[in-house]
Subunit: 470 residues, 2 copies
């Protein structure tokens, strides 16, 4: 492990370290059109595992997947006033197609509330059709002026949920359920991120929503990352698109709606929250490869033992890859697996073979020791769970160590230089929030006195979590 540094150290230049890691761990490349991104196989493998885990949770919450078109008539966007104001500056517009100029330009979806509502209006007739719970996995385009791989890209991949309910309460509860059972659960239990759940202020809400719930994570350099949001849309889109249902007592009522999304930004968050100066550290529950078995030399017996170990670990339920690229130097391969953050590396060379041992390297803990080969299948599943827990605990400690309790704006700005600040919302308020924003510090979310998500912005005891954000 003690190699010459392959990455810019985090302490020297965090954004540069981030870029270096993404390139050297082969997660992504910049695309040819400004702000777009090529997600390489290893990066995409992380996203696929995220999709699997999220998709299972979304389905457990009762939503079904569907697919709405990429191209939306420009006139749809204009139907909800706040929404169009929020998204107009970021739109990509198709003006020509099939060799002709289009009569009405179409936009590449920046999000799908408008087109979804057009169809909800057709599908929803009576209270029996509610709740209508839909999710889609798709790409969206928002023209980015200051792009950064994974965190802010012109095109990104995401899931967007869209639901319609008979009552305000049902919609509110469903947005909260997704926030808790899908997003918070996934981020904590799978990504091992100690995220803070909260409520956005009016200033930070989604364009067209009446309430936005968020989960915020702390990066290695003490900034904030918004990880997933759930919106109560009220009846804003229902009124704009005339989405109504016949109630049990025979009246036409507008539906109440939610939308909620999470994106490939989570791959960037994984880097920024769990990476170290040697590379990425992937939480074992997420890892597409939990253990890599490295044949140190291209010796037949070594290769056979590496493959046999791979088989035995696979049988024990571990996601394994056998690295038999013995035409490449061992040191280079070891550095590569460190960079990619595979949780466990098992090195097998001729001497280990003779001893009946293998060298076990744990990426998250940073340990390295020989173990009897026969013990590996029993050891590994428990070790992976221990390392998962350690990563979450590190994340919790990092956040609490770098969060200051403050009462004034000056203090908050100072604290945001190295971490987050918590300040009573009744001391800050929308005016204080605007003053902070002038200095590049934003209210990431409001949390209640007991740590729960506040039922309203002005609930007594609310605390604002403020930080600089990516």
């Amino acid at each position: 492990m003690a190699q010459a540094p392959v990455l810019t150290p985090r302490a020297d230049d965090f954004p540069r370290w981030y870029q270096d890691l993404i390139a050297k761990a082969e997660l992504a490349d910049n695309g040819p059109v400004r702000g777009t991104m090529v997600v390489r196989p290893y990066g995409y493998g992380l996203w696929e595992r995220m999709q699997q885990e999220m998709d299972a949770r979304i389905k457990a919450a009762g939503a079904a997947n569907a697919y709405f078109p990429l191209l939306i008539p420009q006139s749809y966007l204009a139907k909800e006033a706040e929404h169009v104001e929020g998204f107009a500056p970021e739109l990509a517009v198709v003006t020509h197609a099939g060799g002709k100029e289009l009569e009405e330009p179409v936009v590449v979806r920046p999000t799908s509330e408008t087109i979804v509502n057009e169809y909800f209006s057709k599908w929803v007739q009576s209270y029996r059709d509610l709740p209508l719970l839909i999710n889609q996995w798709a790409n969206v385009v928002r023209w980015e002026l200051r792009p950064r791989l994974f965190l802010r890209t012109t095109e990104f991949l995401w899931q967007e949920g869209h639901t319609a309910h008979a009552t305000f309460e049902d919609a509110r509860d469903y947005a909260a359920r997704i926030h808790r059972e899908v997003y918070a659960d996934f981020l904590r239990e799978v990504l091992a991120m100690d995220v803070v759940p909260g409520r956005k202020t009016g200033r930070e809400r989604f364009a067209g929503a009446i309430n936005t719930l968020t989960l915020e994570g702390m990066t290695g350099d003490g900034k904030a990352l918004q990880l997933a949001t759930s919106h109560e849309l009220g009846q804003n889109f229902a009124r704009a698109f005339d989405t109504r249902y016949l109630s049990k007592d025979g009246r036409q009522e507008y539906v109440w709606q939610t939308s909620w999304g999470s994106t490939t930004r989570m791959v960037g968050a994984l880097v920024m929250m769990h990476g170290d100066d040697h590379g990425l550290r992937v939480p074992p529950r997420l890892a597409p490869v939990q253990a890599v078995v490295v044949a140190v030399k291209g010796d037949d017996a070594v290769l056979a033992e590496a493959r046999r170990t791979g088989e035995r670990l696979r049988a024990a339920g571990v996601r394994v890859h056998v690295d038999d690229r013995t035409d490449l130097p061992f040191g280079r391969r070891a550095v590569d697996w460190e960079l990619k953050g595979v949780p466990v590396r098992i090195e097998i060379g001729p001497r280990d073979l003779a001893d009946g041992t293998a060298v076990l390297v744990r990426r998250i803990r940073g340990s390295r020791r020989p173990v009897p080969s026969e013990a590996l299948p029993a050891l590994l599943p428990r070790m992976l769970e221990d390392d998962q827990a350690l990563l979450l605990e590190e994340s919790r400690r990092h956040r609490t160590d770098r969060t200051a309790e403050v009462t004034g704006i000056e203090e908050a700005v100072a604290a945001a230089g190295t971490g987050w600040a918590r300040i009573p919302w009744d001391r800050l308020g929308p005016e204080g929030e605007a003053r902070l924003a002038e200095q590049g510090v934003t209210v990431r979310c409001l949390v209640a006195a007991d740590g729960s998500v506040p039922a309203s912005e002005d609930q007594p005891g609310n605390v604002a979590v403020v930080a600089r954000a990516y």
Copy 2:
């Protein structure tokens, strides 16, 4: 089952029946932009199952998933002459973004060979980097003048594979492997479609390829549907994008490439190939819901028994849905499940409960009989496999019954009125092919005398399969 017809009968108007079925089985709606499509949850569920089965086969063939950008600089398309000529008329062009006119317009990808090659040129350095085997699941846009839901839509979902190899032979063999182990295997074993594997003629090849392999299926009205294609690209894109590698003997060589794709058209094919006058019939191995347990009445004991039956079938490995919407008339629900083509329906009412039986309705076979409830978990898995085999056998019989052996062009055109014709390629040739095309009949593929895929267009004994196509 004997209801008034809910669909236009196939014999009256096949295209109308197709449209009716897609609407009433809730597979898809037309999108607002001409030729686009909203895939509804039941239709998307079919696609998700296709993705799962295909993705496992693609990974088993050694390819890894990645993601390339949606937006491609217009100049990239122009680099390969045949390619741009083939796709130019179908492109959608973004000219404005972020509130400004773009300096260089960008196209919405119609396929990704060009942008993939731009990156392969960077990633491939030496023979050690080959073969490079990549797949992506994505949406593409091709402006369609005569759209039809699922079969030809302006935007569609697909997987596109892109690979680079050191030699012509390796690329040729890999295209053939995908054709056989991914596409043919999936279409036959999962979709129960008796497809014909063959080679496209020069006229029908993919724009930029040196060879295209195809799988063609016969629709209920005797036409042809192209289901999946694999292309040998030769060095065409490698030369256009300068994709070279350092060979073992130290020389710079162009790579040899393949690309291969299959799309949401397969959902339309499922309808056109397996549907009947009552609706869709979903092959059991594909079906997202293999058995639906219908509670006939909203009686507590009936509902409890329906749920218990659902649990027991789930434990037996069957994908089950319990229909407890007893506020809707039973007849309407039965018709709905017929339309959706769920392979097995189990109806439980108060009388069945008293008898310890349930009514078992098999959609593919069209049978209906009472069975002892306790026997269901043991019966169903075998029944589903039998019905899967029956569907494939029906598909084979339909194709062979409707395929004529002919020797002249007049005869071929006549046969194409109700089915396919097979005509020796040395009797037809490119000139005969052009004459057929004038009458709307195309060469779907060439097959060798022994039924295998010909190694070349002019291999002696080649037979042309000709038909009208969707």
